[in-house]
């Protein structure tokens, strides 16, 4: 059981890093609490695998340190860190039975036979492997093999964390649901810190209580899936989370008839006083307004603060629809539920103030952050 603390951690594969782009991981301070379910989410090449390898001890950090329960483990080998890992492709001992696979780590630790038997059977039961315990491990399906690799971590009492490296890559789509649910149940049952690396936002958000979203070697946001969805603190988070991602509109500050407005393509974007002040206080000209496709309201009739739009494209995905609408020259995505009516051609869009987010230099500004995020 352990809390994992990344303290001033940075890593460069180059011996003597000079510029920012030499770093695979930029300096970060980060804590994974004991017993939490975390996801490390990001596009390929964002550094998530490097970070995982730093935690597992496969790579030694070039700067800063990794602490397990407050103890620095920079120089501790992988096996002495007491972590288990599930890889992208199932790693099992082909020549052994399922039982022997699960018993293997305990046998290596010279645990007595009875304890091993008890532990193996208990874990097999949790993972629904009881019936195949006596079978050779190499004839099993990919999802069963992944469960075995996970089981080898669960039989040990001393395991402080389980790391998952895109564990569902080779699993059939219809089985992914089952296995993911199993992971979740296991987390609820065993009080183990779990870190799950993936590029799939659905996998990350359904598994984890908290997601660390990585982009270009940095954790750009660390929060619950809901926070990442509702309050993305960087335009990349808004883009990456959600399907489709957040709509962003670049706006310019203008004074029209003595009134301060923020406009695009000659159209004034309806903002609250507070939002308008936030953008007004910004030094930069890089001003963006973000709103999720789920929160844009579409209507056939005009409302106060609504803007006229043209419907360019409708994509019916069964459980929901995605509409592409044009406001001025700006294309926006709108997500509608299955039962919602879709207007033809012309309609009006409304942007509820609570879901309108303001970004300065790609970072979210809110009344509480003020300009502090705007470095």
């Amino acid at each position: 059981m352990a809390e994992i603390h990344l303290k001033g951690l940075a890593h460069s594969y180059i011996g003597n890093p000079q510029i920012s782009s030499d770093y695979a991981i930029h300096e970060m301070d980060h804590v994974w609490q004991q017993g939490g379910a975390y996801a490390l989410l990001g596009p390929s090449g964002c550094g998530k695998s490097t970070l995982l390898n730093l935690i597992s001890g496969l790579i030694k950090p070039s700067h800063g340190s990794v602490l397990f329960d407050g103890v620095e483990v920079n120089n501790t080998s992988t096996q002495d860190r007491n972590i288990a890992q599930v890889f992208q492709f199932p790693v099992i001992y082909d020549s052994m039975t399922v039982y022997d696979n699960l018993a293997f780590p305990l046998r290596n630790m010279k645990v007595d036979r009875e304890t091993i038997d008890k532990k193996v059977k208990e874990v097999a039961k949790t993972l629904d492997l009881t019936e195949i315990l006596s079978r050779k491990a190499n004839n099993l399906s990919a999802d069963e093999k992944q469960k075995i690799s996970m089981g080898r971590g669960l039989v040990r009492d001393d395991v402080s964390a389980i790391l998952f490296d895109e564990p569902l890559t080779v699993i059939d789509p219809n089985l992914k649901w089952k296995l993911r649910r199993k992971l979740k149940q296991i987390h609820e049952r065993y009080n183990i810190t779990m870190v799950y690396v993936t590029h799939d936002q659905l996998e990350a958000s359904t598994f984890a209580n908290k997601i660390a979203l990585m982009y270009e070697g940095k954790i750009v946001q660390f929060g619950t899936p809901r926070e990442l969805f509702e309050e993305p603190n960087h335009t990349f988070v808004g883009f990456f989370i959600g399907s489709p991602g957040m709509n962003f509109i670049s706006v310019e500050k203008e004074i029209v008839d003595g009134q301060l407005v923020f406009s695009f393509d000659g159209i004034n974007f309806p903002l609250s006083q507070e939002q308008s002040d936030l953008l007004d206080n910004a030094q930069s000209h890089n001003l963006k307004i973000g709103i999720r496709p789920e929160f844009i309201q579409l209507s056939r009739v005009e409302h106060p603060e609504s803007l006229p739009c043209k419907i360019v494209h409708t994509e019916d995905l069964g459980t929901y629809k995605i509409l592409t609408v044009e406001v001025g020259k700006q294309q926006l995505k709108v997500r509608l539920g299955e039962d919602q009516q879709t207007p033809q051609e012309n309609a009006f869009v409304t942007f509820p103030h609570q879901w309108v987010k303001t970004y300065v230099d790609e970072y979210l500004v809110t009344p509480s952050t003020g300009d502090s995020n705007n470095e």
């Binding site: 992988t78 790693v91 293997f104 780590p105 290596n108 630790m109 080898r152």
Partner: protein, 295 residues
């Protein structure tokens, strides 16, 4: 499942069939023909049935050399296989040392067989050979031309020197094919080096090892050139192996009928033992093919 299916393929294989027919099947049939006849000259041949086979099987020359042959082949396998694996495990995996090791290991394989014999013939001589001289200088009485045990040891050593590389290179390629994740998982499971070898490396090497063993068995079972050059089969008959006995009989004594029968028996033994190995391979690989078709 992903094979291209096209009848043209059969036409493309045809030349190989013809080649095999002319190079193997036709000569083999000729030999079968000789083995059941008593041949005096071109025009006088009499059918004798399995007479030659009976004679050959009761011939102490064959029995002796067969026993020697099995002893030799199994000793060779017993030394070369573990040694080859050990070498492969110790080989560096990256950098210039890796390339260098590969080249050094490949060298013995490139030397023609009769040259190997000649090298060792000189190398092991007590008067001018480095090996022979050093051994004698150490106070051990060594002379492979007089002492059967010395001769055996020399032939074995020569074969080990010549062929261990083959096993080592095969295993090396097998080891390189194991993904890093396996080693990492094993370390996490606190497996000892011995466990890693037993449960990861050895199972993954099974395929290449069986091929290596099969090749080495067939090759060593048919060994001719090197001992012929090195010891000439002596002292006495101590290093006269099957193929040499056969050659002596067929060419030296012109006993074509018995020699043909001998050849057939020889051929059948090689075939039988290889078949045993082969069925082992397919049996062991059955599980593997299942796994692949799942993907």
């Amino acid at each position: 499942m992903n094979k291209v299916q096209n009848n043209k393929a059969w036409f493309l294989v045809l030349p190989v069939f013809l080649l095999v027919a002319f190079s193997a099947i036709v000569p083999l049939m000729t030999v079968v023909n000789y083995s059941v006849q008593d041949i005096f000259d071109q025009n006088n041949a009499y059918f004798v049935g399995v007479e030659w086979y009976k004679e050959i099987l009761n011939d102490p020359r064959l029995q002796d050399s067969l026993a020697r042959q099995f002893m030799f082949s199994f000793t060779v396998l017993l030394i070369e296989v573990p040694l080859g694996i050990a070498v492969a495990l110790m080989m560096p995996t990256r950098g210039w040392t890796a390339s260098l090791t590969l080249i050094v290991l490949a060298l013995p394989l490139l030397i023609p067989w009769n040259v190997v014999g000649t090298i060792w013939q000189i190398f092991a001589r007590g008067d001018i050979g480095l090996l022979g001289y050093v051994i004698n200088a150490l106070g051990i009485d060594y002379n492979y031309t007089n002492n059967p045990i010395d001769a055996w040891a020399t032939v074995l050593l020569m074969d080990v020197w010549h062929w261990t590389s083959l096993i080592a290179l095969l295993c090396y390629s097998g080891l390189r094919a194991i993904p890093d994740a396996y080693y990492q998982a094993a370390r996490i499971d606190r497996a000892s080096s011995w466990s890693i070898f037993k449960f990861i490396q050895l199972p993954k090497l099974k395929g290449v090892l069986i091929i290596g063993i099969l090749l080495r068995f067939m090759d060593s079972f048919m060994i001719y050139t090197e001992p012929f050059v090195l010891t000439g089969g002596g002292p006495g008959n101590s290093t006269t192996f099957l193929s040499q006995t056969l050659t002596k009989m067929a060419i030296g004594q012109f006993d074509i009928g018995p020699a043909a029968a001998f050849s057939i028996i020889y051929f059948l033994i090689v075939l039988l033992v290889s078949w045993l190995f082969f069925t082992t391979i397919t049996h062991l690989d059955k599980d593997k093919t299942k796994e692949q078709s799942y993907d």
